[in-house]
Each structure stands twice: as C-alpha cells, then as structure tokens.
Symmetry: C2
Subunit: 230 residues, 2 copies
C-alpha cells in the first residue's frame, strides 16, 4: 500500500534538496578546503574529490536514478533505460570517488580501511554493483522469465533501497569522520565550516528521506508506467 | 505489497542480532572501557552508560517494540499495549542515555551539541517522543475517529520507521565518533577494541535492517492481528 500522496510532489522536494546538497559540498570542498585536484603536492586537494563525487555521483544521481522510474511519465522501456544509465553513472562516479580516498591515503602515508566508514563503503559499492548487474541481466538484457521478473521485483526495490539508505547513512559517517579529524587539528567546533558540513549532512539525509518517500507514494498512473513493490 | 516471506522468520534473526548487539556493547563498555558509573572521578565511566542505554534501550527495545505489533499472535488490544509500553521503555532509556552524555560533557568541561551525532540525536529523541504521544492519543486513549486512525496508520508506520532508521544511523555515527576520539588519543586503529566497536556498529545496522524486513513482510494472518501499511 502506497502513501496517499503523489510521488511527483515528493520528487520536486527531492530535486531541490539534491541541488542544495551539490552546491553545499562544492562550497565546502572548493571554498573552504582549497579546491579539487587529481595530482597535487597538497594531498588534501586529492581527498576533496572524494566527498564531491560520492555525494553528487552515488547519492544524488543514484537517488535521481531511483525516483526516475517512479515519477517520469514515459514508456516503460524508456524509463528502464534512464534508470539503468543513471545508476551506471552513479556507480562509476562512486568507484572513482572511492579510488580518490585510497589515492589520498596512499600518497599521504595514511593507512587504509580501518574505519567504519571505509568498511561500510566497500560493502556498499560491492552491493550496489551486484544490484546493478542483477537488474541489467534480469530486467534488461537478456532478461529473466516472467516469473523471475515478477518475483524479483519487490526484492529489487527493497534491496535497492537498503543499499541506497546504507549509502546515505555512510555519507553522514563520512562528514562526521572528516569534520572530527579537522576539529582535532584545530578547526573551530562552532565555526562556519563546521556548521556548513553538518548542514550538508542533514541535507543529504533529507534527500535520502525524500527519495524513499517518493518511492512509497503513488506513481503517475495505476498502470505499468510505475511500480509499487512495497 | 509485503515481501512474500513470513515476518516471524525475520523476527528470529532480529532477536539474535539484538542479543548479540547487547552483549557486544556491554563487553566494550565494561571490559574494554572500565565499566559504568553514575558518579565517578573517572568521568569516562559516566559516558559509558550512554552507548549501553542508547543501544539496549532506544535501538534494541525500540526495535522489538516495532516488530512486536507485526509478529505476535495476540489480540490487537494486547499487542497495542505491548507496542506502547516497549516504546515507552525505549524512549525513557533513550532520554536517560542522552542525559548521561551531557552529564559526562559537563563534568569533563567538554562543550555540548557541536557534532552531527548530537544534533541528530536531539532531533531523533524529540521526533520519537512526538510519535509516541501521537500514537497514544490517536490509537490508544482517548483515540481518534475511525477516519483519522485509518488515514494516520500508513503515516504512523512510515514516520516511525523513518525516526527509527535515523536512530540506527545515528548509533553508527556515535560509534565512529567515539572510536575516532579514542584513536586520536592513541588507540590502535587495527586493534581488538577498534574491531569490536566496528563490528558492534555493523550488528546494530543489521538489527535495524531486520526490523524493517520484519515490518514489510507477511504478518501471522491476513486479518486485523497485523498491519500492512506499506
């Protein structure tokens, strides 16, 4: 049973929060943290690519990929292609974003994979990849039998939302971890940068919330243009 | 549409994960961190009450409160009372748990309410309280009209799960924050305590996942002994 609200109404809020989140993370990494660079003697500029790609790629484009299938009034085949391509973009940007975290660590002699954020992050990107490959094979090409597709769909939605919510939660862990490091190095706990990072985290959590609200609300019509798996 | 799996099957996994989480947090706070105390010259012992009460109270008892309504084969009135009382216990333990964090900060001259964990925590406990009061007034005593009750129910479930997932995510933030502080003070990043805390966090996230899976699965019978709001 879906919530008695139009999904498209929630989707507008999702878009606005997504734009706000993208602006906030760029203001943080470019204005406060000195910008982005693939190669630099100031290794922090390499790290700065990480939050930008993870938020704009995995979280925002990934969220738009999820709600595109629910809110667009297009033919099923077209929506499926948009859903698949947006998720592929999200996944690729996510993988590059994770690579930059390792690159920063390795070039700065910081050890890898000790924190909860890193552990969950590796798990999430693997699950996201498995989910994408399963979706491609069963729902796109070559495609499973009708039985497999109809029995898989609720699990595809539930597992997809599970992985997505883990990603949103892990983004919050990332903001907190980085800000705690900065505060331990002297950044003001009540300063403007600390508030900016915390508000970016809250906007990220709200974006994830509205993605889920969009999914559990009513699609454009009670036909196969939409899904209502839960 | 619910998942085609019996909720009670998921609920067994939830119980086991809950017991595992409770044991892990006690091993951490008692064995590794020196135990719990309401008054102590070693202020860390006051802090140690915080993770124990938040996990066992708000997260585990709160999670059991959520799934009790879905899985028990009892009369609706009995289940409602169990649901209400367990949530009240979770809420009270959560409030005491938050109080101990402030008490530790104040007695150790640490500033309050600068971190994302603390901001979200205050928001979550307020929303949890509002949700409990609304549930009490509309579904228990004096009770709303039939229309209000039936229109509220999907929102009660969705908002309740939203607040609960925020609480689970915020627990993960808490583990990461505390462990980062300890590691900055010299705790080994790959030591047994660091691994214990990260595994406790993962068990907590899995517990929350199985609470949600229980809720979106099939109750004991397709009658009013269960709800299927989403």
């Amino acid at each position: 049973m879906a919530l008695g609200v139009k999904a498209v109404a929630f989707s507008y809020v999702t878009h606005v929060l997504g734009i706000a989140g993208a602006v906030l993370v760029l203001v943080w990494c470019v204005h406060f943290r000195g910008g982005l660079a693939w190669e630099a003697s100031n290794k922090s500029l390499i790290f700065n690519i990480h939050p930008v790609l993870m938020l704009i790629g995995l979280i925002i484009i990934g969220g738009e990929a999820i709600i595109s299938y629910k809110t667009l009034s297009l033919r099923k085949e077209v929506k499926k292609l948009i859903h698949l391509v947006l998720h592929a973009v999200a996944l690729i940007l996510g993988i590059i974003g994770i690579y930059t975290a390792f690159k920063y660590h390795n070039e700065s002699n910081i050890v890898n994979l000790y924190s909860l954020h890193s552990w969950l992050g590796i798990g999430i990107i693997i699950l996201y990849g498995i989910q994408w490959i399963y979706g491609f094979l069963i729902f796109f090409y070559p495609g499973g039998t009708t039985t497999i597709r109809s029995e898989s769909l609720p699990w595809h939605v539930v597992f997809g939302l599970f992985v997505y919510l883990l990603a949103v939660g892990n983004a919050a862990l990332g903001y907190l971890e980085k800000l705690t490091f900065l505060e331990n190095s002297g950044l003001a706990k009540y300063g403007s940068e600390a508030f900016l990072v915390n508000f970016t985290a809250i906007v990220t959590v709200l974006f994830g919330t509205f993605v889920v609200l969009t999914v559990i609300s009513q699609g454009p019509a009670e036909n196969d243009y939409s899904y209502s798996a839960i």
